[in-house]
Amino acid sequence: MLILHCPNCGQNVDETDLHSGGEAHLKRFGPGSSDQEFEDYLFMRENPKGVHFERWHHSFGCGKWFLAARCTNTLEVFGTYSAQTLEPPKEIIDRIIARRPDWVKGAKT
């Protein structure tokens, strides 16, 4: 079972207490944006086979959102971090590169 550390309440949480919120760091677009920007925001997803940044909701716990870096191919978890960030923090990126030297941000495999 997938276990993620909730940075909000400090608990190691089983998957069954969590709800996945999909890809993280999406740039929001609203009224006044082009159709393509709106489509990108609502529907287009990186969906990588590899390192994925994603949102998680600690539904049956503290009830707060956090973000995680996880490999969709091996299910390895690189770390979790606050949802109040616009991009992954350096320590998470460093940890990913330590484990995946070839990884390029935005690449799918």
């Binding site: 709800h19 890809e23 159709d35 969906n47």
Partner: protein, 414 residues
């Protein structure tokens, strides 16, 4: 190709079965083809088959990273139905269902199509209203389905407990002409027919890059060398996003594991397919006697082909109430496949931003039933540039807001 027949079996019985040909050839790739299909699953092979059969295009290669039919084609619960709410869905799924009826004769390959009937249970008032609406929509679409009450449900499937208490059966949507087929045989039958038309099926050959020139596709790089083509069909289900990225575009798709499991074989006890969408479970009995059970998808992206165990637990826990007799069954095997889910839970059969590349993906949790219809429509799209069956399934519908919203109608069990 030597035809399979009762006579052939008798003939071979007299010579120790030494006269059977290989069902399909395994050639080395040529330098160039008119059409390359990536993905030798049901949808890819059906596309190639109908390109040859309906349009006479036989200079075709079907390239497969693993082995033929080893992805979702060999991992699903083999359910075939066409009781969809929206017109474009009903059209393509009904086309597929009707092609399944004659597939064994068409391919001279027994796909064991068994139109035993599919019953979708209504276990909440909301579902009752939803399925009655679907039954009305189906009668307008020319798809034969009917709403049946709890008494009839019990008659059709006596092993079911309709009393609840947690999930009482309030009725169901009955499609008598739905059923199951042998999933591997569908891939094998198409592969044999494609090979017979002169097409090359190249297994264990991974596409590592897509070559374009001036916005138009000219070929692919593979682990068996570079292969040229005029048109490229991407039919790779769960890996659609990965392959599209190699061609430089993005798809509105997320890949998640979907699981299924089978029990030990038992005596015949259920001669229909039952789907229970409220509890995310569906069940049928295979010819060997195993109870074949499908569950819901994982909530998060993954490419692992196994899925989270608690989904199995949820599915089985709920099914045990509706089918108390399975409570003591032992489960033999459990597995997962990676399904490609779109924003509106409907597939994508479409041209792409790159000229000459066509994509067939997004079948999500319900691709097996659509294989022949999908291949038929995709072949027309690739040969003629347009098909009435694929028009509304184009990938640009998300930008235009023209969704084919089956997520409400079909729920998870697809």
């Amino acid at each position: 190709m030597k035809r399979y027949s009762a006579f052939a079996i008798a003939r071979e019985a007299f010579r120790q079965h030494k006269g059977w040909d290989r069902a399909w050839r395994s050639p080395e790739p040529k330098k160039k083809y008119d059409v390359i299909i990536v993905g030798a699953g049901g949808h890819g092979l059906a596309t190639a088959y109908f390109l040859g059969k309906n349009f006479g295009i036989t200079n075709v290669a079907v390239i497969e990273k693993g082995w033929l039919g080893g992805g979702n084609t060999g991992r699903n619960t083999t359910i075939i139905r066409s009781n969809y709410l929206q017109d474009p869905s009903a059209a393509i799924y009904e086309k597929a269902r009707s092609l399944y009826e004659t597939m064994s004769q068409d391919l001279n390959y027994n796909v064991m199509f068994s139109p035993r009937g599919v019953l979708m249970l209504a276990q909440t008032e909301h579902e009752v209203r939803g399925y009655k609406r679907t039954a009305h929509a189906n009668s307008l679409q020319g798809v034969t389905t009917e709403w049946v009450g709890p008494k009839k449900v019990k008659e059709i499937c006596p092993i079911m407990n309709i009393e609840g208490p947690r999930y009482p059966v309030l009725g169901g949507l009955w499609q008598a002409r739905g059923g199951t087929a042998r999933h591997d045989a569908v891939a094998w039958g198409y592969a044999r027919a494609c090979s017979d038309m002169g097409m090359d099926i190249i297994q264990q050959c991974e596409v590592t890059g897509v070559v374009t020139s001036g916005g138009k596709v000219t070929g692919v790089n593979t682990t068996k060398g570079d292969i040229g083509c005029d048109k490229l069909g991407m039919v790779v289900a769960g890996h659609a996003s990965v392959l599209a990225a190699k061609a430089g575009f993005q798809l509105p798709i997320e890949s998640v594991p979907l699981q299924a499991l089978v029990s030990e074989p038992i005596k015949p006890c259920m001669d229909i397919v039952v789907m229970a969408n409220t509890v995310h479970g569906y069940m049928s009995q295979s010819d060997k006697g195993e109870m074949v059970i499908g569950g819901g998808t994982d909530g998060h992206n993954a490419y692992t082909q196994r899925g989270s165990f608690h989904h199995i637990e949820e599915t089985v826990r709920a099914l045990v109430e509706t089918f108390p007799m399975i409570a003591n069954l032992k489960m033999l095997r459990q597995w997962g496949g990676i399904v490609d889910v779109t924003g509106d839970r409907s597939p994508i059969l479409s041209k792409t931003p790159v000229e000459g590349i066509f994509v067939n993906c997004g079948w999500g949790t319900g691709g097996f039933k659509a294989i022949p219809g999908s291949g038929w429509a995709m072949a027309e799209l690739m040969a003629k540039g347009a098909s009435p069956l694929t028009e509304e399934f184009n990938m640009f519908r998300f930008r235009q807001g023209k969704f084919i919203d089956e997520s409400v109608a079909a729920g998870v069990a697809h």
